[in-house]
Structures are given as C-alpha cells and as structure tokens.
C-alpha cells in the first residue's frame, strides 16, 4: 500500500520559478489536462481554490462512462467525449481505475417518447455508436426484471458503463505529480497579470509565474476568463440533486436506466454506482450561486417517487445519502475550448455533465492546442505510472487483503490502512470531503454514526483545512 511514499520526492519545486503552464481548476478536466501536459514534458502547475481537488462541479455526478450515442452530432462535445472514453478504456487498468460494464436501456413511458426513438437511433448511427436498437419488451423484462411493467418501449444502448467519479481524476493528478507537476490547493486565483513572457498569478498564500494559462475553472470559468478578455460566455450553474440508495438495492439495478432526453437535459437517470449502491438523479435547476448546492426535501421526495415509479421495489429500499452538484452550463450547448495565442491562454469552459467521460479527450485536444500555439513538446520517455486504491465493490477491496488492519468504517468496509494511504503521499486528502471521496469512509448507510469520530481523529491534524474539533 505504500507506493505513494516511494515516489514522494517528485513534484518538489525546482529552482526556476516559472512554470510552462498553469492549469486553473482542480476538477476532473483540470486534472486530466495537468496529466497530459506533464507527460508531454512541460513543467506544470495546478491551482485549486478548494482544500482538495474535485471540490466543485466534479464532486457530484452520475459517474456514467458515456458512449455519446445521443450527444449532438458533429459537436466538439461528442468528439471529445468519444476520444475521452477511448482513452479511459486504454489507461484504466494501468491506473487502477475500475469499470463496471452495465450497458443501458432507454425506456419510453409514453407513446410520445417512443416516437423519438427513430431519431435517437439515427443520431447514434451518425455518432458511430453501434448496437443501439429497439428492445422488445420481453427482452427488456429479461434484462431488467425489476423495471415497472408500465414501460411502453425501450432501446438497448450497449457500452454505457459505470466508473468511479473520484478515483479517475485523482489518478490523473497523482500521475502528473509523480512525474513532476505541482499541485497547490487553497489557491484561489485572485489576480492574474500578464507581463512580457509570463503570467503572474496571485493566490491567498503565494504567487506563481507561468507562461501559459489553461482555464479549467468550471463554475468560475467566466470569472477567470475575465483576466484574459471580456468573457464571451457566461456560466449559468445548473444544480442537480441526487439520492443514493442502500447497497441492498443494487440487485434491483442490473443496468443503467435512461429516460428519453428532452431539449434541455438528459433527464433523471437510475443506475448502479461503482461502490455497489443505486443512484437516482440529477434534477436540473438553474441558479446564480456558483459554490453552494444544497438539497431540498421536496425535490428529494420527488426523486424517490420517480425512482419507485421506474423500479417499484426501490420504494422499500433505505436512502443512504443525498447530495447536490453544480454543472457549469453556459448559454451555448457545446463545449467552449479555444486557444488565444496573443494572450498565452487556453479556454476550457462549459464542460457540463459529460466532463468525466470527456476529460481525457479534452486534455488530448488541449495538448494539441498547446503544441500548435505555444510549445514544442518532448513527451517524457519513461513516465512513472501508478495505481490508485480500488474502491469498486466488484473488484478486490483492501478489507479482503490478508494482514489488513482494523476496520474503521463498517458500512463501506474501509480499513485503517486505506485511510492512512489517503492521508499520506504526494497528494494527501486536503479536507474531510476529500478523505471521504478517496476512501468512502462515512459515506455508507450510517453516514458516520459509527466511524465519524474515528475518521476525524485520524485525519484532524493532517488536513489542509482542519476540522473544527475542540479538545
């Protein structure tokens, strides 16, 4: 388990304080960009405003590895989503990232929804996604025996799978760090000024210099963009609420169940999670607040009702968790990714719910822009690879390892060693949320009744953002 410590000497700052590239924003996109540019041989910095990575939009999503079958054809989004998916499938085993091959069914509950199927099948064809076809109701029942019998029609969507929304970006950032990148947290960019050859970035605790800025600031994208130009887009945070059911519900959810999408949103999805639960969400409500996403009881009750309408047996299943996230939507439908050569700046904005799948596609595309406009790249000849700890329920977990230490979290079967690993190494958890995302401790059915004290006791003196505990 101590692989992280063995490479912890990497990532220390060198004598020349100027970075080639500063990535602003430690969400999944920023982490992927950091990785690719570091492996491309550049000296990279990542600045994250939160006490840990994934503190913004990336902390809450449905964790589906999409095929892009219903994404707008010929959009940048569909192309990057599909190349991101391909690249994830190429690297996931090497980085220790899980993949739960579930496939999906899209279910129509009204004749009007069924009428949209031919258009969706044609779209899947245009997008090059094979195997999307009508699913006879008796086959649907075989694939998904717990689905409500009021379904009118269904489509089979092979290739839609489930991944770990947090270990993937963490692996990208960690691989960057062990190959020389620097990650600075609690580093909100308050000022960015351009001089002759470089940008100076001011954060609460330090200043940094970088030749090129890559704006991956998610829900703050337009505010960061304003340092380079009058932002040609405006972020309109879209809140999504989710409910997570107990692990005992997963037997009820053999595949992802997609609704028929409408013009505005992909709609409310029911799916297994990689951790062995069942998820329902997201809702979609625009709001002005870029940072705070709270749940509300009435919406959660609606989500529960929707889940029980689709899979009636879910009515009996207890709720494990609820959460809300903010997706950085803009007034445009597509991703906004462009280089501003005169400003030494690359904009990566409007990456909404597909960002997790698309991240490595986006980072590949950004690497191309960097090479085209800013640097001649000399990729690392022998980059260091590492595996992140597995938290997926269908793969071996640490608690099954002979010689493991004490269990700390009983609902999620998290060991003391796992928490220790998450608190050490070159990129330790920065706050309690980050520690939970890295280990799953206190995220299970009792939500910390049993383990919160133990987890906080282990973590408290070691977090960037200490807990308000008093002795």
């Amino acid at each position: 388990m101590n692989y992280i410590a063995s490479v912890s000497q990497a990532g220390s700052p060198s004598s020349d304080p100027t970075f080639d590239v500063a990535v602003i924003g430690g969400g999944v996109v920023g982490c992927a960009v950091l990785r690719d540019l570091t492996l491309a041989g550049l000296k990279c910095l990542l600045l994250e405003r939160g006490a840990d990575l994934l503190s913004g939009a990336s902390k809450a999503n449905s964790a589906i590895l999409h095929t892009g079958f219903d994404t707008s054809p010929r959009s940048l989004e569909v192309s990057l989503l599909q190349s991101g998916r391909r690249r994830y499938l190429e690297v996931h085993e090497r980085l220790g990232l899980p993949l739960l091959k579930t496939d999906a069914v899209m279910v129509a509950w009204t004749p009007e929804e069924t009428a949209r199927f031919p258009e969706l099948i044609a779209k899947a064809g245009t997008n090059g996604v094979p195997g999307v076809r009508p699913l006879p109701l008796d086959e649907l029942r075989q694939i998904h025996p717990y689905l409500s019998d009021t379904a009118v029609a269904a489509l089979r969507v092979p290739g839609e799978h489930i991944i770990d929304p947090w270990s993937a970006p963490l692996a990208y950032a960690l691989q960057a760090v062990v190959n020389g990148a620097h990650v600075e947290r609690l580093a909100e960019v308050m000022q960015a000024e351009r001089e002759e050859d470089y940008w100076t970035l001011t954060t609460p605790h330090a200043r940094f210099r970088a030749k090129v800025i890559i704006n991956c600031a998610g829900n703050f994208g337009d505010l960061i963009e304003a340092f380079a130009r009058k932002a040609p887009f405006q972020i309109k945070p879209r809140k999504g609420q989710f409910v997570i059911f107990d692990k005992t519900a997963q037997r009820l959810m053999p595949t992802i169940v997609l609704p028929v999408p409408n013009e505005r949103t992909k709609g409310i999805v029911l799916c297994p999670t990689i951790f062995g639960n069942v998820l329902v969400g997201p809702t979609a409500d625009d709001q002005d607040d870029r940072q705070h996403a709270g749940v509300d009881t009435a919406t959660l009750q609606k989500l529960l009702a929707e889940a029980a309408r689709i899979v009636p047996a879910l009515e009996e299943e207890p709720v494990t968790a609820t959460f809300a996230g903010l997706r950085p939507a803009t007034e445009r439908r597509d991703y906004i990714i462009e280089a501003l050569p005169a400003e030494s700046w690359i904009t990566v904005a409007g990456i909404r719910s597909t960002g997790l799948t698309a991240a490595l596609g986006i980072s590949g595309y950004v690497t191309g822009l960097v090479e085209e406009h800013f640097f001649r790249l000399k990729p690392l000849s022998e980059p260091v690879w590492l595996k992140v700890p597995n938290l997926a329920e269908h793969l071996p977990r640490d608690h099954q390892r002979p010689g493991r230490g004490n269990l700390i979290c009983f609902c999620e079967l998290v060991t003391e060693d796992e928490i220790e690993v998450a608190l050490s190494g070159p990129l330790p958890a920065g706050d309690l949320g980050g520690l939970k995302r890295r280990t799953r401790a206190a995220l299970g059915r009792c939500q910390g009744f049993n383990c919160l004290g133990a987890v906080c006791n282990m973590a408290n003196d070691r977090l960037l953002s200490p807990l308000p505990l008093q002795k």
């Binding site: 107990d246 692990k247 005992t248 037997r251 705070h292 996403a293 709270g294 749940v295 509300d296 009881t297 959660l300 009750q301 009996e316 207890p318 709720v319 494990t320 968790a321 609820t322 959460f323 809300a324 608690h399 099954q400 390892r401 002979p402 010689g403 493991r404 230490g405 004490n406 269990l407 009983f410 609902c411 079967l413 309690l432 949320g433 059915r445 009792c446 939500q447 910390g448 009744f449 049993n450 919160l452 004290g453 133990a454 906080c456 006791n457 408290n460 953002s465 807990l467 308000p468 505990l469 008093q470 002795k471």
Partner: protein, 319 residues
Amino acid sequence: MPQEHAALVIIGGGPAGLSAAREATRQGLQDVILFEREAEAGGAPRHCGHLGFGMRDLGRVQTGPHYAEHLRSLTKGLDLRCNHAVTTLGPRGLVEVSGPQGSYSIEADRVLIATGTYEKSSAARLMPGGRPFGLLTTGALQRFVYFYGSIPCHAPLVVGTEIVAYSTILTLRHFGAKPVAFIDSSRYLRTPAIVALGARFIFGVPSFTGTRIVSIDGEEQVTEVTVEGPRGKRALLCDGIIFSGDWVPETALIRASQLAIDPKTRGPVIDDYFRTQDPRIFAAGNVLRSARSAGTCALEGRAAARAILADLKANGRKH
C-alpha cells in the same frame, strides 16, 4: 482448504450477542463463534459514558463502558473474533466474513443476528441544505467525546426527544457544551420528563414541539438552522445539529439475503422463538426494532440462545 464449521455463529458483540454467547456456552454448546466488527466487543454501551446500564439484567446501575466490560468478562474463553465483519449471509447457514487474515466463509448450524441499531442520518431524513461539518447523530457525538476526547460542536441544535436525547444531554454536558434548543416534529415531547428536565433545568434552553428543520446554513461548519413550528419560522444560531433517536435496525445482511422485513418494526420478521424466515437464522436485540435498553437486549440474547439450543436438540444435534 476445508471450510470451517460452527454450531452457532453470532453476528455482533453487543449486549444481545454477548449474552447469547454466554448462555450458549454456559449450557455446554461447543463451537460457538462470535464475530464483532469493532476492535473490541461490548456494543453501543461502550460509548455511553454515563450511568443507566445493567438495571434489567444485573439488578444494579453502571456506566455504559463498565457494563460492556462486565459483559465481556462473562464470556472469557469464547471464540470471539473482533475486527471481523460478516459480509454475506448465504443459504444453509453459510456465513462469509472479512477478517484480518482475509475473507473466508464458515458453515454454521445456526446463526444469531445481533447487529443492533443506529440513528437515522441527516441524509436519510432528507434534510435540506448543504453538507457543512457538524451534522451528526448522538452515537457519533458520543464516540467523539468518550473515545477521542474531542467535540465537534459546542452549541448544537438537538433534534428528537426520544429517551436517547437524555444521553445527548449528558454527553454534551460532559464536555461543557450547551445545546441551543431541542426540537421534535411530534406535537408532544416523546420523553417529556427527562427531556424537559434536561432542557429546562440542566441547560435552561427551550424545547419546540411540532417543529421541523427547513434549512441548514454554513460553509465549513453549520452556522444557522431555520426551523418551522406552530408559531412560524425562526432562525437558530448553532454550530451543529445532533440528530437523536429515529433508530434504524442494522438489517443490511438480512435484507441482502432477502429475508422478510417487518414494516412496523423495520427489523426482520421473527416467530415467537426469535427465528427469521430462514430456519437456521435467528435474531435478537435492537436489530429487531428501534433502540431499547441494553438490559432488554441482553435478556433477549439469553432467551434467543435458549431457543437455539432447544432447536438444535430437537434436530438431533448433540452438544
């Protein structure tokens, strides 16, 4: 590798499980194994550092940790496997376990589930708002205070007036903390005397009935909670919320093995002899419903052990 075999596997080393183990071994049953997922047996009384334990089963009053110690002392020589979590309850008494040596399975003639209960989390209560630090149950608070000597909030709102709220009061007081108020969604205080006394005379703070939380504010930590009651909304400045009571039986193993749950008790369906729908599997203690006293659970554990012994005897197993 030959599979291990046991006459009786007990899951959970709280008052019910330990008392059952004691009774079974006292009556001469060999091959009893007790699995406890914590590093130490004793169950919830371990983190109730105040008086009130042992009245029903021992006829004297002790603190929780002393009571847990006493229960452990009664089961010396028992095959007690701490730091072991039972992960699956299969058919025909097959029990899968995660232990320090890795995962393994045991075939048991009989299984007793004594996994206890926990308080419903803020999430499962569908509480509104974000997730600042300071949302916790009484059980979590007790562990902070009695295990680690730290306290996550000094002026919390306490939700719920079941008898466990009394423990909340004592636990907060142990650390010099003071709640800002008690609320309950019911129209009446559920344990009027104790809570009213605690609220009014120990802390001098109000109790609001028919009142529920409508919003929770705070970035890093809770700073304010808005509640709504018969006299409208009011904002309460506080640094945490203690969710007390609203007990959830720990039935994950039972539900995963598809044994029926009683919708009234939320525990497993059992017959008069503590037997679930699977004739090899029994259940006792707080897993059967919401929290009752440790002594009640201990007596139930004892009774369940007797039922299991009689059942084994009736089925021709020598012991």
